[in-house]
Structures are given as C-alpha cells and as structure tokens.
C-alpha cells in the first residue's frame, strides 16, 4: 500500500468517482486551479472545466446550484473553502437540500456532497479556524462525515458521492499533509461504521478527525501507566454507529469523548447523552468530554496553542474518568491526583 497525504487521497477519490460516473461534477471557488490546499489539482486537466467548474465567491448560490443540479440528476461535489463560510450557504443546505426528499414526499432527492474543511492551528483567527459540524448534525436530512485518515477520507468520499442524500464532508486542514498508507484502488467505506483503532478494557475513548491521532497518543501514554483504552473513530456523525461504542462502554465503564470543536453544544454532548442512556447501569464515572473552551479561536500563537485540545487534554480527562471520586460543590470533577479540568459549560473560562 502506497502512502498518500490526506489531500492526495481526496483527489484520488474525486478522480476515481469522475471516471466511473459522468454525472459527477466538481464546483467551487478555484477548484479548476486546485484550490488553496490543492485538493482538486489536476482534475480540470483530465475532466475539463465543464465538469470542474470554478465559481465566483457566492457560497449561497453555488451551494444552491449544486443542489438544483443534484435534483436534476447530476452528482455534484461542491467545495466550500472554509467551514466558516458555510454560514453563507446554510439557507440552501438546511432549508433546501436537507428537506427536499421529505417535503416532496420522496419525489426529489439530493445526491450532493459538500466538501469543506475546518480546524484551528493556522494562526488564521476566528473566522478561518472553526469546527462547526455540530450545527449540521442537528438538521434531519443531512449526513455528516468527518474522516481522520487519508484512507478513510478516500473511501468515505466515494460512499458520500454515491449516496442519494446530501452529505457534508468535513475535513481538517491540520491533517491535509499527513501521510499514511492508502490502497492503490480505493473502495467505498460505508457511511455509519465506526472504526476501532486500539483495544483495551479500562476506558473507552471516542475521538473525531484531528483528535483521533491525539487520542492514540494519549492511549499509548495511558498504557504505560497500566490503563488500557479502546479507541474509536465514529467516522460519520450522521449516521452514527453507536452500537460498538455502547458495547465498549459497557465493558470499560469509563468514557472520554474528544473533538476539536467548542465543548459546550458540541457533538460530544449528544454522543455522551446517547451513551449514558444505553450504558447507564455500567457507568463507573461521568462521561468526560474534551473540546475547546467557550471562546472564539484566538489568533496569537501562544493563545491558539493553549486553546486547541490535544493529547494532553485527552490524557488528563482519561485519568480523571478512571480516578473519579465525585464532584465538588461547584460541580467540578474531583479525581485523585488529577488537576481540575475546565468545566464544559457555556461560561468563558475564568481569567
């Protein structure tokens, strides 16, 4: 298996899908030139600018045009360059794409993929660094995919393109140039199948996108201290493959959920709620969440680094879950030998 970067795997999947199905078109800002991360580089040379269409900076109409084209029988892959700009396309995505099949009583379908990328770390400030996937999971009719590796990105993208529903495919810019083995010929990875990356009996860690690598790093460190973790990547948030996560949690009794998004109102809260119902009798500690504090993403390097959740936070949350003793009067977790974790609330952190 040859190694590819995340963007190379995306490009490979797009080219493969376009070769296999003439209905697949790609549109977005600068896609014919490859875009800022070169995810679509070379596609216009092979497939022409009729199928790989540059668009003006009109996220709303471009997203809507992709939906209209999908309703007419094409399979558009539309790119929104930064997930921060999805706000401009949400009317089309939420009010049109997500509801077309339902409101037409099944007459219309929207086989659309909206590719976008989020995540912090680029010192780009709060309008180019967000993780907004939780909003999308709140809308019935949309599917939401968040791959963490090049091979998953390629295989999941093929499934997303073949899916008859609108799929939002959320990449993370910090993963784009990491290399990992990718099959010579990509095969579709079904949406709605979690992947287990590490097996242990003491703790269940569920992490998405960039935090998956950090979860594995934390799990290795925990193992040195005798705590063996199951590590899962749900890979798709909608549909969500809850069963293996529940089965794991029933064995371990402890769970940490980690994502890059702001913790409060994040997808981890939904996942924790679903898990605690299904595994309530088996829980030995509250389900712990790792995410970003309730502030916009700061720009200054030191501030952004402090803001971004990673392996250290997952490690500490895991220890806290394992050594949980109770909560203090303010509701903060008390765990033996673990410094207090920031509360996952809608309050900005105290200065």
């Amino acid at each position: 298996m040859a190694e590819q970067t995340f963007v190379e795997a995306i490009r490979t999947a797009l080219a493969q899908a376009m070769r296999e199905d003439p209905r697949v078109i790609v549109l977005g800002e600068d896609v014919a030139e490859g875009g800022p991360y070169l995810a679509t580089e070379g596609l216009s040379a092979e497939f022409g600018t009729g199928r790989v269409r540059n668009t003006p900076i009109s996220e709303n109409a471009v997203c809507g045009a992709a939906i209209g084209a999908a309703q007419a029988g094409l399979r558009p892959v539309v790119e929104i360059m930064f997930i921060d700009f999805i706000t401009l396309a949400l009317d089309q995505l939420v009010n049109q794409a997500a509801k077309a099949h339902f409101m037409s009583g099944g007459q219309l379908s929207v086989p659309l993929v909206l590719r976008t990328q989020g995540g912090s770390g680029g010192r780009a400030g709060a309008q180019h660094s967000q993780s907004l996937e939780a909003w999308l999971t709140h809308v019935p009719g949309l599917k939401v995919v968040m791959p963490s590796s090049p091979a998953d990105a390629g295989g999941l993208l093929l499934s997303a393109i073949a899916d008859p529903n609108p799929v939002v495919f959320v990449e993370n810019k910090a993963l784009y140039f990491r290399r990992a083995p990718v099959p010579e010929r990509l095969t579709p990875i079904p949406l709605g199948r979690a992947r287990q990356l590490r097996a242990g009996g003491d703790l269940t860690i569920v992490a998405t996108s960039r935090l998956l690598g950090d979860a594995l790093t934390a799990a290795a460190r925990l193992a040195q201290e005798g705590i063996e973790a199951d590590v899962f990547d749900p890979r798709t948030l909608v549909p969500l493959d809850l069963d293996p996560l529940v089965a794991s949690l029933r064995r371990t009794g402890h769970a940490v959920i980690a994502h890059e998004a702001v913790t409060a109102g994040g997808f981890g809260g939904e996942l924790a709620a679903q898990l605690q119902v299904a595994a309530f009798d088996y829980l030995e500690a509250p389900i712990h969440r790792v995410g970003a504090p309730f502030t916009p993403v700061p720009m200054a390097a030191a501030l952004e680094d402090a803001y971004r959740p990673g392996a250290e936070e997952i490690y500490r949350a895991a220890l806290s879950a394992r050594r949980w003793e109770g909560c203090d009067e303010d509701g903060a977790v008390v765990a033996a030998g673990v410094p207090a974790l920031p509360a996952a609330t809608h309050d900005p952190p105290e200065g």
Binding site: G64, G68, A72, Q92, Q96, M103, Q107
Partner: protein, 334 residues
Amino acid sequence: MPETAPRPGRSRAQSALGRDAALELLETMWRIRCFEERVAKLVRNLQLQGLIHLSIGGEGVAAGVCRQLRDDDAVYSGHRAHGHALAKGAPMDRTMAELMGSADGLCRGLGGSMHLVDTEHGLMGATGVVGGNLPLAVGDALAAKLEDGGDRVTVVFFGDGAVQAGHFHESVNLAALWQLPLIFVCENNGMAEFTSRAEHTPVERVVDVVAPYRFDRQTVDGSDVEAVHAAFGEQLRGARRRRGPFLLECLTHRRRGHYEGDQQSYRDALDDAEWAARDPIARLEATARERRWLSAQRAQAIAAAAEEEVERAVERGRGGRALTPDQAARYVYA
C-alpha cells in the same frame, strides 16, 4: 416611454394567439381562480390550515408561461405557487389534497401550500424561503446545459420582493456567467409582503436590476395574457437554442393580502372598475368575445367546469388521511 415599460402594441403584433390557445389559457386561469377562491373559503371556515398565499389577479403569468412548456422543462416556484403548479400540469385533486395534508397529496401531505412538487410534470419545487428557489433553478439549468444536444429549459418564478436579496444577485450572475438556458420570470406586484416596492428599493423595474448582466429582458403587463404569452414565447425559443438567460418581468396585481388572514391595513382596496382593468381573466374574456371566439354561454361553461373540478377535488381531499408518523419518517433520507 422608457425602454423598459410594457409595450402592449408590440406584444399584440407578435402574439398570434389563436382561438384554441386563448380558450386554453382561459380554462387554465379559471381553474386557478376557482381553486384559490375555494381555498380562501376553506381557510376562512378553518377547514384548511397553514400559511396560504394566493395569486388571484396574477393567473395570467402562470398560464401564459406554463402553457408553452413541456413536462421535461423544469419550473421552480415560490410561496405563492398554486397557479404555477396547476398551470404546469399538477393534478388539481392531488394539489388540493396536498394543501389539506392528505397522504394522497402531491407530496403525501409533507409539503403543503408553499412546497408543492410534481416531478412528473416538471414542477421541481416551490419554496417558502423568498428567493431560495433561484439558486436551485441555476443548478437545474446547469444540468440542462450539460446534457448533450438537449433543448429543455428551466423557468423560475419569483416576486419582486426576492430581488433585494443577495441570492437573487448571486443567481443572476451565475446564470449570465455560465450562459444558462434559464428564464427568470418575475411577478412584480409592487408589494413585498406588507410594504410597497418603493419602500424597499429605489429601483422601480426589475429589468433594470439585471441590465449590467446583458440579459435579454422585457417588462410586460402581467394582466395581459397575450402579452405574457408572446414575450415568454420569444424568450423560450431563445432559451431552447441555448442563447443565455432571460428575464421576463410581469407587472401584476395581487388581489388579496400577502397571506390569507392578513388584515391588509397597509393598502386601499381597488374599486370594481380598477379591478376589472387588472383582472387577466376579464381582459382575455373581453378580447375573446370581441374576436367572436367566445360566447357568453361558453365563457360561463368554462368557469362552471372549473368550479366543478374544484368541488370534486375538495371532496376527495376531505376523504384523505395523513401519513402516520412512522410513514413520514421514512422520507427523511432517500
């Protein structure tokens, strides 16, 4: 006269609207009129729920445009969609059933008045978000353009209230940039919800808004069905030959409020003479009578047939049942 003003003389000269076409248009307009008057009554009697927007007074646009379209031509409509749906070929009984929330409705009672869809007849969707249909129509027209050798076109209906929204400008730009076979049909009734156009924009005519994009564009009197038919026919021929996007601005009159139940404190009612001059049905009937295409008896028969069809639709709709929640949930994902 400014370039953009209606030119009835020119339209009439080109119309060549024959007897059969005129009677068909009358029939369509009566079907829409009777349907909507009956809907208004059902709303008043609390027999029909939801947000209902009527197009009484604007039937000429729906009829004049849709009569010339084929089933494979796509129509996108907005919240005031009953007329467009019926004119495009949606069966009246299933349209009424849809408004009533019945599983026999066009959309199985999951869409309702503002979200009528009938893909079999090319009604690709009405939307409750003002102007939200414009980008969708751009995408449909892009798909039409990418079909090799095809000549199907896309038509999008919208009100002048949509023109002040960003997605109108984004859509117009894309359509012009990509030279799409898309006809924008604006029903300019001078009112955006409760306020007059003049309070929303200093640009009186929508044709002027798209001028820089070099659209082929025309303003017609939307109450003059012949003028609508002729102007649209000319644009349709161009669109079938893939000669870029077009805009047809139809000056219409909204006889009723923004929605049924609207108090309409914001405007004065027309008197009967003013209404007769703006009623597309009365006008076409007068023309047809003048040309001896239509007897008084035949005119009454057309209206009566429409009324009967509506009554049958209401009866059928009343017998319908809504989907169960389980059945409805199956339509969330394809």
